[in-house]
Amino acid sequence: MSRVAVLKGGRSLERQVSLSSGARVEDALERLGHEVVGIDVGSDLLERLREAAPDVAFIALHGPGGEDGTVQELLEVLGIPYTGSGVGACARCSDKVLAKHALREAGLPTPDWVAFSEIALRELGAGDALGAIAHRLEFPLVVKPSSHGSALGIKFARIPDDVPAALIAALSYDHKVLLERHIDGRELAVSVLEQPGAGAQALPIVEAIPLGQDFYDFAARYDIGRTRFECPAQLDASSTARAQEVALAAYDVLGAYGFARIDMILAPDGEPQILELNPIPGLTETSLLPQAADAAGIDFDELTRRILSAAVPASPASSPG
């Protein structure tokens, strides 16, 4: 039995999801017999952590602050072991542009893209180059903030005239935005979990199948009732193996640890194209990683136990993250 601080909430736009993830993790940890201290992360985090003096921290935060290495860095300083990926991996994954560069350099498939900073667009006239860039990437494009894992700020640009408004929306979330070639394919989420003694293993794949007409409405695609999730996804053995292989390779390349969810599109040519790696994916009742674990016969308590145990013996403080 350990004393576990569950870090949840925080100031990010994904606060609500994080509170649900955190509450669910707390319940599981209590059932596992641990002493649980829930901390809604705010400016008094340091003080709360000193007060709680936990043996280990379970980070159930999503979005900037919690998933980008900030909290992980603080925990390193305090010498408190924590769940999930280390500082470096979190920083790489929360910046989609950095992550895509790392994947591309390692030879892993990810859709073509162009990235801009706000300064470039505003002060250096990079906007002039948009026409040529869009021509290179081909429409439709997906325009997204470089940080943030949720659907917020992600827009489709079907034609060049859609691009300026889409850029402005994405810039509302981050100073850096990317224009990514949209690949019309099946949406897959491959979860990876560290297995005791066996290293990281890929779980059964979840496919997100949008229902109805609002295909281009990203918010709808994350909304229960407007998207159907199938797990395990109906894929042939070689596609499944290839998607899992690519997911594990991305996990390694980005230096993730403990658990993660890799989102990808299965392109019509059969090749999975990696969109992003979420170092702390949602752990709510409707989240994809718990669904995938369940399909592998790992219930939520066992999932929580494994994530926690990966943190304790070999603290990620010593990992290269």
Partner: protein, 471 residues
């Protein structure tokens, strides 16, 4: 790890949890959705945020000493009743206060023509409950009160919104819509309107339009739900007659046929006490009362005793005067700040009363995304999308001026203005290039020195190289 001892909850946590409940949910819950906006709004309550998002009256002006004396009175004179259930239709003493309030606005009403509700919101809910079958059409203004949209949705109504201008709902458009619906064999069950100082638009329906709307309802035998929370918060101009008073002339014994009227104590006394009321044609009122019985038996007796004591204690008009003075100054501060800090492309309404200003930005700015950006600067508003059920309103926002100080309002608008100006500048720089000749294919996509963060070339060579490494 401790053993199960029977006092703990049984293990749960499988992914089947949700499915287990989903099968039990009523079909109407499909329409009850959480939204990106709601997730964002959850963050607006942080203390460091200047929130122009709420619709909150300023409750800091109520004297604690006065409150104590009122509650002492309740405690001395009617404690047992205040702690007891009350009649479903409301306490007689409160109904008499409401009769007095309505008389002050030229609306004669008998105490047995109204029921006390748990806020005006319950009146909306009860009217929906009484009138709507799934798929029925409800007509409302576009934009409409954001809190009414989920009420209509939860009864599976088909909401049709009629665009407004500076004189409120456009009755021509309403007629066209009614004709178009009639051609499909559909007749709306009711028209929901806030004619005076509308939430969120801040505009009032003109007198000629009010007359036409009432005539139209009579002609086509449609019910109107007139929601009137703000008419006493008037900062300029003369009062306009309510739809109810146009339908039921002074001295008439006729209770009216087509206007259901709802009022509230929320904006003239306190929203925390949750006391509102609804006046309706008697057959409708009887159904509303049955609906209320199943909803909550009766509104809080304690709150109603407080209301009765408050109205018995002196002139309720004085407190409203305090609100009006304060809110008028805050409205003026907001209008000044908007004129100072917003770009020339922005448009906003000039409310003669109420709590809200409706701002419309260029259509390339999505106010839900803008809210995410504004939250980084610790300022919040309601994105316009929340006031529509059909995706409109994406470039508008509702600003509230009653619950922040003049300094906070100026600071809040300054921050919003700064962001909007930045976005307008970016848009201009992006679209200015459009007029230039398109760049040839082989030109580097960014000129030297430009801060293009990354530009992977989509060349076949690079692609096959990366492929070969993957496999």
């Amino acid at each position: 790890m401790s053993a199960w001892d029977g006092t703990r909850r049984p293990p749960r946590g499988t992914a089947h949890e949700l499915e287990r409940y989903t099968g039990l949910f009523a079909a109407r819950t499909e329409r009850m959705r959480s939204s990106a906006i709601r997730d964002l709004m959850a963050i607006t309550e942080r203390p460091e945020i200047i929130s122009l998002a709420g619709g909150l009256p300023d409750t800091t002006m109520f004297e604690p000493e006065f409150f104590r004396s009122l509650m002492n009175g309740v405690s001395n004179d009617s404690l047992a009743q205040a702690l007891q259930y009350g009649p479903t239709e409301g306490l007689q003493a409160v109904k008499e206060c409401i009769v007095e309030l309505m008389a002050a606005e030229d609306m004669p009403v008998a105490a047995d023509e109204l029921i006390v509700t748990t806020g005006g919101q319950q009146a909306i809910d009860l009217v929906c409950k009484t009138l709507l079958d799934p798929g029925d059409v409800v007509i409302a203004e576009g934009p409409t009160y954001p809190g009414a949209v989920p009420a209509f949705c939860s009864y599976e109504a088909d909401l049709v919104q009629i665009e407004m201008d500076g004189d409120g709902m456009q009755i021509d458009l309403l007629e066209q819509t009614l004709d178009a619906l009639a051609a499909e064999g559909r007749r709306p069950k009711f028209i929901y309107t806030i004619p005076t100082f509308q939430n969120p638009a801040g505009v009032s329906m003109s007198l000629p339009r009010r007359r036409r709307l009432v005539a139209l309802a009579r002609e086509r035998e449609l019910l109107i739900l007139e929601d009137n929370p703000y008419s006493m918060l008037r900062y300029e101009g003369d009062p306009l007659p309510t739809l109810r008073s146009l339908e039921v002339p002074r001295g008439s014994r006729d209770g009216g046929d087509f206007v259901i009227y709802t009022g509230t104590m929320s904006k003239i006394l306190s929203p925390g006490i949750r006391v509102g009321w609804v006046v309706a044609p008697r057959p409708v009122l009887a159904k509303l009362q049955l609906g209320k019985q199943s909803a909550d038996l009766c509104s809080s007796s304690l709150a109603q005793h407080f209301v009765a004591a408050y109205f018995a204690s002196g002139d309720w008009r004085e407190y409203i005067e305090l609100f009006r003075d304060r809110y008028r100054r805050r409205r003026d501060a907001m209008l000044d700040a908007l004129a100072t800090y917003l770009p020339e492309e922005a448009r906003w309404t000039h409310p003669g009363g109420g709590l809200f200003i409706w701002v419309t930005l260029p259509d390339y700015i999505d106010t839900t995304d803008l809210l995410a950006r504004a939250l980084r600067e610790n300022v919040a508003f309601v994105p316009g999308e929340a006031a529509f059920d059909d995706g409109r309103g994406h470039n508008s926002m509702r600003l509230n001026f009653s619950s922040s100080s003049e300094d906070e309002i100026r600071e809040g608008i300054l921050r919003i203005g700064k962001i909007v100006n930045e976005q307008v500048a970016i848009y201009r720089s992006l679209t200015a290039g459009k007029a230039r000749p398109a760049l040839p294919d082989d030109l580097p996509a960014a000129s030297p020195g430009a801060e293009v963060v990354s530009l992977p070339r989509r060349t076949e060579g690079a692609r096959s190289r990366s492929r070969s490494r993957e496999r």
